[in-house]
Symmetry: C2
Subunit: 307 residues, 2 copies
């Protein structure tokens, strides 16, 4: 039987990698010859998970062969998927995102739920199908949930994620909060990145009413750690504003422990940010947003609404 | 709470209608205010089911209001769905088709499996979630499976459909084969349709390499019943060939009891059919195809391959 490849999105995060490995176990349970692979390098957080577990990292692939059978996890949109995906036959999808830029020729298995994490969807499959969850799988799914929900603190977290978290914590026999904090902290180590790399680790561009803006974000356990690099970060941001003709650049430094964000704001349209959040930008070009951690749910919508 | 509308595809068949009604029960089990509706008139077969059960037929809608929350069953493609669907918010899909022309803004519930019938997917949800299946729901799901798989005889039928069929037969406490034959026969009553209506009840147009053809199909319990109307049917087919500039017109009369088809073949490219099936068209413009019941799986592919 021909091998089925399982993978998450490009620039993989912890959910994409961990859910791929757990889906491989699920596929094998059903007698399929399947292998989890990945579309990019592990980030520091996911590296921590695999070092902790001492298990093998899925091998990296960059493209796909004609007729290759694949299962997608944690994504469905073409732009986020493997290069040459049109050559593959997609036989299954397990996901928690909207559906877009997705089309198949044949019927397939498609399981998506509007939860905070793909691993929560996977966890429910194991439960409903009465498949035993081994300790390693429990730790992988738990890691994915901790990552996607920032230890259940993100506004994207649902009751289903909380239920899965607490059941998986028991199976894994670890203190999920202690483990999770260490894992999240490992992902915040920015010391090896230049200022230019830091502002581009996770930067999204938006266009609205002729205005062009970037909202970039990094996670940290201590805002001051990142903010102490303000001078070189602002230099990189100003360069990006000039090169890309931006009207606004927001750089979110998100404190994953206390779930707040400090935002460095540059560009001619800084007043948009003041209007959106009803606060003034201080003498350090920054604004403090209490309880704000999600760009998707808490930052982009008010900004785009003011524009 | 705002009401959620549940519906299947346009020109609804038994699966689309029955699965909508059963999905309403599922949604209500989860505390949702939901209502099954339909996008077109009931066919004779589905009418038989609702008369047999003596239950209310979902009300017909023709378009949708801005922001209406909907659950789709038995389809996902835009062209097959309600007019103005772009105005709706799709919160769920239960289906057994390929995914195409489908896109959402938000994450949603999407459950699709490559089975012969949507009701088989639904049946598995009830089982996995340990939700009791009442007798009426069992009969509705059983009717949908019988319809989509021609009493388990279609090549689209999977082992999962067979399993669901036999479990549902027990819950429904009926003889599924006897009931199913009566139901399928009810759908074959063409006496009230003109020849022109008969050839257009279920006609699909294909274009391939500059050639245009139509493959139409009707189900019957007795091929001679339909074939006795050959003269008026051929007249209607010839008219359609002239009006639509067709190169080929195939009219499949499918015997759902013995699972064979007799095909009336007209048009300049009749030789394509002879090549595709390795048989000659007889003096009655017809060709007999043993064991052939599925246009999608057994007729269109060899014809398109020859072209």
């Amino acid at each position: 039987m021909e091998k089925i490849l399982i993978f998450g999105h490009k620039s993989p995060d912890t959910d994409s990698i961990c859910s791929s490995v757990v889906t491989e176990k699920l596929a094998k349970h059903y007698g399929l010859d399947a292998e989890a692979v990945r579309l990019g390098d592990l980030n520091k957080e996911t590296e921590y998970v695999f070092n902790y577990l001492g298990i093998e990292v899925p091998k990296k692939i960059s493209e796909i062969e004609e007729g290759q059978k694949v299962i997608l996890v944690d994504h469905n949109e073409k732009e986020q998927s493997v290069d040459g995906r049109e050559k593959a036959e997609i036989i299954g999808v397990i996901d928690h995102h909207r559906i877009a830029a997705f089309e198949t020729v044949y019927p397939l298995y498609y399981m998506a739920k509007p939860y905070g994490c793909t691993s929560t969807v996977l966890f429910e499959i194991f439960k409903r199908e009465n498949i035993e969850i081994d300790k390693v799988s429990a730790k992988l799914m738990l890691s994915a949930i901790i990552s996607d929900t920032l230890l259940l603190k993100s506004p994207t977290c649902t009751d289903k994620d909380r239920e899965a978290y607490s059941e998986l914590e028991k199976i894994a026999e670890i203190n999920a909060e202690e483990y999770g904090l260490e894992m999240l902290k490992a992902g915040t180590d920015l010391s090896m990145y230049s200022a230019d790399e830091v502002i581009n680790l996770d930067a999204k561009e938006f266009s609205e009413k002729g205005k062009k803006l970037v909202i970039a974000q990094v996670n940290t356990a201590d805002i001051n750690d990142v903010f102490s690099r303000k001078e070189e970060l602002e230099f990189a941001m100003e360069k990006s504003i000039a090169d890309r003709k931006l009207d606004l650049y927001m750089f979110l430094i998100t404190d994953i422990i206390n779930t707040n964000s400090k935002v460095i704001v540059l560009g001619n349209d800084r007043s948009v940010v003041e209007k959106a959040f009803g606060k003034s930008i201080d003498e350090n070009d920054s604004i403090f947003l209490e309880g704000v951690v999600s760009r998707k749910k808490q930052v982009a919508p008010p900004i785009l609404a003011v524009l």
